[in-house]
């Protein structure tokens, strides 16, 4: 598996994500936001958490219009894999690669804690390492994680089994308790919780490891 991790000014989980990919056996290339091409042979693009462009205008809005994001969209449209975590999820909704938007948390507070997350589907190369319905512990750290989409979109996500993760105890007001969703081809994942922060025993847990291992198993470099 060859993973590219995009680095924006203000990204702060880029190295954590790279370490989690590497621990699963991936070759990792860090890609600067001003780059206009992805490295040759990239299987998956990781868009990390953080505060790209200082969250100016809207979280993820300016990153979504950066030079590299056009390439990320082209990669996704070719059937390539993309994973956006936290600010990365916000970027993916702003690019339109995933539906909906992330609003300010209903309680208005920035929330940083480990939450129970139900694996809503194991039918994706991101979640196949988990049993559907199982609950894993993964940290969240966000101010704008309140997933919103119109009623038709929510119904479509549910009907197509595209909700990847739901909160056990909804911390932010997200509709249908949604913490993470998949694209129609199930190759683009956006999620607010941080699996890369539960990927080593020193993190206090390893519930995120199965996600990276499943990806590595699915994306064996030819």
């Amino acid at each position: 598996m060859h993973a590219a991790v995009i680095v924006f000014p203000g990204s702060n989980c880029d190295r954590d994500l790279a370490v989690a990919f590497e621990a699963a056996g991936a070759k990792v290339s860090m890609v600067w936001h001003k780059d206009t091409a992805l490295p040759e042979g990239v299987d998956i693009v990781g868009i990390p958490g953080g505060f790209s462009y200082g969250d100016y205008l809207r979280c993820g809005a300016i990153a979504a219009n950066s030079p590299i994001c056009g390439e990320v969209a082209a990669h996704a449209n070719r059937g390539g894999y993309v994973m956006g975590i936290c600010n990365g999820f916000q970027v993916l909704t702003e690019t339109g690669l995933l539906p909906g938007a992330l609003l300010r948390n209903a309680g208005l507070k920035y929330i940083c804690k480990t939450v129970g997350l139900k694996v809503a589907t194991s039918d994706s190369d991101f979640t196949s390492g988990y049993t559907a319905g199982s609950v894993i512990n993964i940290p969240i750290a966000h101010h704008d994680g309140n997933y919103y989409a119109d009623a038709d979109t929510i119904a479509e996500l549910l009907a197509e089994d595209r909700v990847a993760f739901t909160y056990e105890d909804n911390p932010n007001g997200a509709l249908a308790d949604i913490a993470g969703i998949l694209s129609a081809n199930r190759r683009v994942l956006g999620m607010m919780p941080h699996p890369e922060r539960m990927a080593d025993p020193v993190h206090g847990g390893t519930d995120g490891v199965a996600l990276f291992r499943a990806l590595a198993g699915a994306l064996v470099t030819a």
Binding site: L57, P99, R104, N146, Y148
Partner: protein, 76 residues
């Protein structure tokens, strides 16, 4: 020439900040405020020849997220 862009959350999208402001106004003794919606105003300083349609394109592509926000453009 300038353009003034008003961006508001769409009707039906919960605005927790507006709600917090409404509560604060009530607690301060300002009665009769039934609802508060908070948005933003963006002023653009434009070259002559930039049209309202151009500014609307900017709104569609960047200034507003039309999944959750509506916008209006005023040329001033």
């Amino acid at each position: 020439m300038k353009a003034r862009v008003h961006v508001m959350l769409k009707t039906g999208v919960l605005d927790p900040q507006g709600e917090a402001v409404r509560h604060a106004l009530g607690a301060m003794g300002f009665d009769g405020v039934k609802g508060v919606r908070q948005g933003k105003v963006i002023e653009l300083d434009l070259d002559a020849g930039v049209t309202k349609a151009d500014v609307e394109a900017m709104c569609e592509k960047l200034l507003a997220n039309t999944v959750i926000e509506s916008y209006s453009v005023e040329m001033v």
